[in-house]
């Protein structure tokens, strides 16, 4: 028995455990301090009422022989795929229903999609990067190269025509930087991928935070994307589904490599290794796309957007450079006073009792930067923003 030796090459998951350790130590030493966490990437607003109603109604259906549902359709129920199809149509993107696959999360889908690709491919990811893109490819032994993102490009690197890559990751609006590509910039990535014959894996998990009309919600708003891109989207951030689990992945019929349709390969992968999202969850997801569901989930997004604006305003007042905060629940700030990511973490914890995430944890280009998130309560976010501003002023 030979194990997959690539697991030995995985870096430890130290970022959040190290944060936890430092916060615990500080709390133990200062039990009287009220700590505010702006490090979390998880939503806090409850599921919208129409979503809860859909869950309860579907649960009732499952309890009656006449309306009970067993194994669902391979790619998800039509009622949900049609809702997703209509959502894309609103953005001018026309999808065949068989291009839409319902899953249980963008993390699952974007990890599992790698089953379709040989391990002998070069993977291009941005730096800083959502760690799962790196870890899932490290597990398979693929070569990983980085597109350095910097303050100079607003943490939105453009393709380097001298670099060869086979699999390209783009997350826009980005986790962790909050930066969002314009249509022109995405078009440059699509053209680059098509020129190389690469596959572009587009993570649209944060699309619902977009307000700028020039920032596409979907890679398929860009010409040529159907020949190179796969898109992952989720209701986790759109509708607070981090604990309810539902995603949709778009694999265009036009996307072929090595003589095979990636759509048909993904269908075969999913029918062989997956059995679909729960019926009740698919009903809940469909409720998100109804007028009532749309209105209710927009309120939660607006709540987080207001938090992001509060943090951004404090940084504006403090004269600190940042990106994100607009089109995104994440604010990516430069550490003041030339501090390293972890030194600023310690200062902020000690002086402001605010917890964020050191940018260095997301890649070498993240050193000297710091991530704050807008998923907390409005009251605590306001308090944290005030303390943040004061702490920076006192440095």
């Amino acid at each position: 028995m030979k194990i997959n030796e690539n697991y030995k090459a995985l870096a430890g998951n130290y970022l959040f455990s190290e944060i936890g350790k430092r916060v615990a130590a500080y709390s133990a030493a200062h039990p009287e301090k009220e700590i505010i966490r702006l490090g979390i990437g998880d939503v806090t607003q409850p599921l919208a009422a129409p979503v809860v109603e859909a869950l309860k109604a579907a649960s009732e259906e499952m309890g009656k022989a006449e309306t009970f549902r067993g194994y669902g359709p391979d790619q998800g129920y039509d009622f949900l795929r049609e809702a997703v199809q209509a959502e894309y149509a609103l953005r001018g993107v026309s999808l065949d229903i068989d291009e839409i696959f319902i899953g249980d999360g963008a993390k699952s889908d974007s990890g599992n999609i790698l089953d379709l690709f040989d391990t002998d491919n070069t993977v291009l990811v941005p730096d800083p990067v959502y760690p799962a893109y790196v870890d899932t490819n490290t597990m398979a032994g693929r070569r990983i190269i980085y597109a350095a993102a910097t303050r100079a490009d607003g943490f939105l690197p453009l393709p380097d025509s001298t670099v060869q890559a086979d699999i390209i990751y783009i997350c826009s609006p980005n986790n962790p930087t909050g930066a969002a590509y314009t249509k022109d910039a995405l078009s440059a990535w699509v053209d680059y991928a098509n020129r190389l014959g690469a596959v572009l894996l587009f993570d649209a998990a944060y699309e619902r935070f977009i307000t700028d009309p020039d920032v596409p919600h979907s890679i398929f708003e860009v010409e040529g994307a159907k020949e190179c891109a796969i898109e992952f989207c989720s209701l986790s951030k759109t509708a607070g589904f981090t604990g309810t689990r539902c995603s949709y992945t778009i694999v265009p019929m036009a996307l072929r490599r090595g003589g095979l349709s990636l759509n048909k390969m993904w269908l075969r992968r999913q029918t062989t290794k997956y059995n679909g999202a729960p019926y009740i969850v698919q009903r809940a997801a469909a409720a998100v796309f109804t007028p009532a569901g749309r209105e209710a989930t927009r309120q939660a997004i607006d709540y987080y957007r207001a938090n992001a604006a509060v943090i951004a305003h404090a940084l504006d007042e403090a004269g600190v450079w940042y990106c994100g905060g607009k089109n995104s629940p994440y604010i990516w700030m430069q550490c003041p006073g030339g501090l390293s990511s972890w030194d600023f973490f310690d200062v902020l914890l000690d002086k402001a009792n605010v917890v964020g995430t050191p940018g260095a944890g997301f890649g070498t280009q993240g050193e000297g930067y710091f991530r704050l998130t807008a998923f907390g309560s409005a009251e605590k976010t306001r308090a944290a923003a005030q303390r943040l501003k004061e702490t920076i002023a006192a440095l």
Copy 2:
């Protein structure tokens, strides 16, 4: 970009589509005939009332800020893992809570576990076999060898000490044959796996159908199994969760290969490529293990067991050899009159208007055999059993 060329080696999914085609053609030619389907492997009884109540209560929780749940714990909620732990304790199996992983299905888990193993391993599967064991390994390019099951061994092959294997699949009670291993027989497999240093993947999806006290519900009832086995179990058949999706996978701490803990490798795989089963589903699953849930789900199992007994009785009267039907919802019968699997399919469809599954669809050793399932309604199962008996008598 190189695709995973192994996908080209996958056999088509022809079995159920061919059945569908033949049934559709017959129905079109004979619209007046009432066809009874005993080919399905999906449950039909609704979710038990305590399960539905748990779903609704958890849905309410998700709608309130105070009780909302976002991302869950990596391996599943403690309330469910503790219920699974207590369930195993009832069988005399002591598990550490961290040996228990909650998932969304035994099919997902038994497919995804292969991420932990090198592609250069030899896989031993029984023939006939649940097709996913073969397809998931074909996708990864592993060498597959077969342990032939025959009428002579009651479709329960024992290990051949001259055969080398690295990954071994055992499903007991078996899909498709319904045959279930005794403790002594499973002990022979565990000893064989330990001698080879192989990993034994044990599929316990049908354990709830076991009535025979000598048939283990878990591979961990067998001494030495914690050093070689991983067990997959699901609520799909136990509690009608085929459309609700919840599984539990046991990876013992004692199971190490190549210097690594497979438990820690699986934890890393799941935290990187999965985000857990929905909170509401985990609450529903926990309700299955309460006294009320246990009683209600037992009633559904008893209902299917009674169906299996009706079919078995008809075959006894017809003088046809079969296995399963006891300890299992599946009946695996020898085709009467020396007919091939597909010829008997056609005869049964034409003369009895009953649909089953040709054994040849599950492997070469399935030729001349036929699978019937107990998941239909009691009334239709009785009618089908009567027609089956008459058809065999008239051959």
